[in-house]
């Protein structure tokens, strides 16, 4: 137990870096994922095709492969990063945006057909229908699944720890090496800090889900 209290500064540093990775990649993925979902339902065939191919391929790629590509293969190909955080953020946001695109698309499909028809019948263009009528309603219904994706993102950020980023898992590995006699407590400490993020988020998803269910 003492080892947890002793290494609180490291834990705290790792905790903040995990949060940083999750927040930055989460924002990038939300924006990029929504754009991908919009492309998926757009009238332009090339955009539809690109979005479909991207989502299909990325969703079936293991995250570790994405990380391996960003952190090991890319530098060998001449794309070097000053900090490995950048590689981690690229891998995490590229991976997560595919899942967000799928969730938003299913939200778009859940909006009643009459909404789009009404919008079109008063003369709105595709971009207006999507941004003013469909997406605001769709995003509302997809908030619970989106929160679940963000929880997965927080957990996925742990893979960064294996690719030279000192976040919670990275520190966990390092501390486990330094304190060979108290490995269990070191990792229990790491688990505690992950749960500190994921459990409240899961609770939030439940609350929102109940609210949305009543509203509809």
């Amino acid at each position: 137990m003492d080892v947890i209290i002793e290494s609180l500064p490291q834990y705290w540093d790792g905790f903040l870096r995990t949060l940083f990775l999750a927040v930055v990649s989460g924002i990038i993925a939300l924006v990029f994922g929504t754009l991908l979902a919009a492309a998926r339902v757009s009238p332009i065939a090339a955009l539809r095709g690109f979005s479909m191919a991207y989502v299909e391929i990325v969703r079936n790629t293991p995250l570790t492969i994405a990380f391996f590509f960003a952190a090991v293969v890319l530098p060998r190909l001449g794309v070097t990063f000053e900090q490995f955080e950048v590689a981690a953020i690229i891998a995490l946001s590229a991976y997560t945006s595919a899942f967000i695109a799928e969730a938003v698309r299913s939200g778009v499909n859940s909006v009643p057909v009459g909404q789009a028809e009404a919008a079109r019948s008063i003369g709105m263009k595709f971009s207006q229908v999507l941004s003013l009528i469909i997406l605001p309603q769709a995003l509302r219904t997809v908030i619970p699944p989106l929160i679940n994706i963000l929880i997965a993102l927080v957990k996925n950020s742990s893979v960064a720890g294996a690719f030279y980023v000192l976040e919670l898992f990275g520190y966990g590995k390092q501390l486990a090496n330094d304190h060979g006699d108290a490995v269990m407590w070191v990792l229990v400490g790491v688990a505690f800090f992950y749960l500190l993020i994921t459990v409240p988020l899961g609770y939030l998803a439940n609350v929102v889900e109940r609210k949305v269910a009543i509203a509809r």
């Binding site: 339902v41 009238p43 090339a46 955009l47 790629t61 590509f69 057909v113 028809e117 966990g172 269990m184």
Partner: protein
């Protein structure tokens, strides 16, 4: 749905969208071309870099990697599913002192990164990396399986359980013989989709030094020289994605088949309500 979002394109709109498509294809093509050119400048496409795939040893190593990946996934799936069933039954038990601790355990397992569980098992119990990978996958996925099946049971009409109890089955018998079979059937697409996740997560074994496909790539690159990293990685990634795509297709096929049967055979329960729960 997509066609509802915009009017049926007239000649002008078709022209605009055709121009848009052409520009889009050119832009995507240009990006790809740029990437390929950059790779070519690194000498990636020199034939001797790819000639290693003519060697049987390379394919042996890749096959070993795939074997390790698939066997970890298969063992984990076979253990995780019954365990998930058990956890699900405990989670919805009528007995509070079973239900509440199970709920806490499930919450705990679901909130934790899989790779952390693998490392925990590896270091604390000093197991082999295969056991660590399987244990991590089992712990996490049985919790997810339990939640999926629970969502399936909750989506059943109330009458199913009431009828079971009314003909004198005990609560447990009703769960086991009436509700579970229907719930599992209903949730089959989600369960298979979770199998894809499980298969993908075996790649985390790379981090705990399990000799799966990605580790095999690393080993080959270290052994043959860094110039072979990209070709080997490229082939391994393609294999991984192909396997996952195949299993995903299976999930979609099951879903389609299931909804067809549901539309024809089941009078109750709207099909729209069977959307897979996360």
């Amino acid at each position: 749905m997509s066609s509802v979002l915009y009017d049926v394109p007239g000649p002008k709109a078709r022209r605009v969208s055709l121009i848009g498509s052409v520009i889009g294809v050119i832009a995507i093509g240009a990006l790809l071309f740029l990437a390929v050119m950059t790779l070519a400048q690194q000498g990636i496409f020199e034939s001797q870099r790819w000639a290693i795939f003519g060697q049987a040893d390379v394919w042996n190593l890749i096959a070993n990697g795939i074997g390790a990946t698939l066997s970890a996934a298969a063992v984990a799936a076979v253990i995780a599913f019954p365990l998930g069933l058990l956890l699900c039954l405990m989670r919805i038990s009528d007995v509070a002192w079973i239900r509440i601790p199970t709920r806490i355990v499930l919450e705990f397992l679901r909130g934790m990164p899989v790779v952390l569980m693998m490392l925990f098992v590896l270091l604390v119990f000093a197991t082999s990396s295969f056991v660590a990978v399987v244990a991590g996958l089992v712990l996490y996925n049985s919790a997810i399986f339990a939640e999926i099946i629970r969502a399936g049971i909750q989506s059943l009409p109330k009458g199913q359980r009431e009828a079971g109890l009314a003909i004198g089955l005990t609560s447990f018998q009703s769960r086991l013989t009436i509700e579970l079979p229907q719930a599992i059937r209903r949730m089959l697409p989600s369960l298979v989709a979770q199998l894809v996740v499980l298969l993908k997560d075996t790649s985390l074994g790379y981090i705990v030094a399990y000799g799966e496909l990605l580790r095999a790539v690393q080993v080959m690159a270290d052994f043959l020289g860094p110039q072979f990293l990209f070709p080997v990685f490229f082939v391994a990634a393609a294999i991984y994605i192909a396997i996952n795509l195949a299993v995903s297709r299976l999930a979609i096929w099951i879903e389609k088949r299931g909804s067809k049967k549901a539309a024809g055979g089941m009078a109750h329960a709207p099909v729209a309500g069977t959307a897979p729960a996360k």
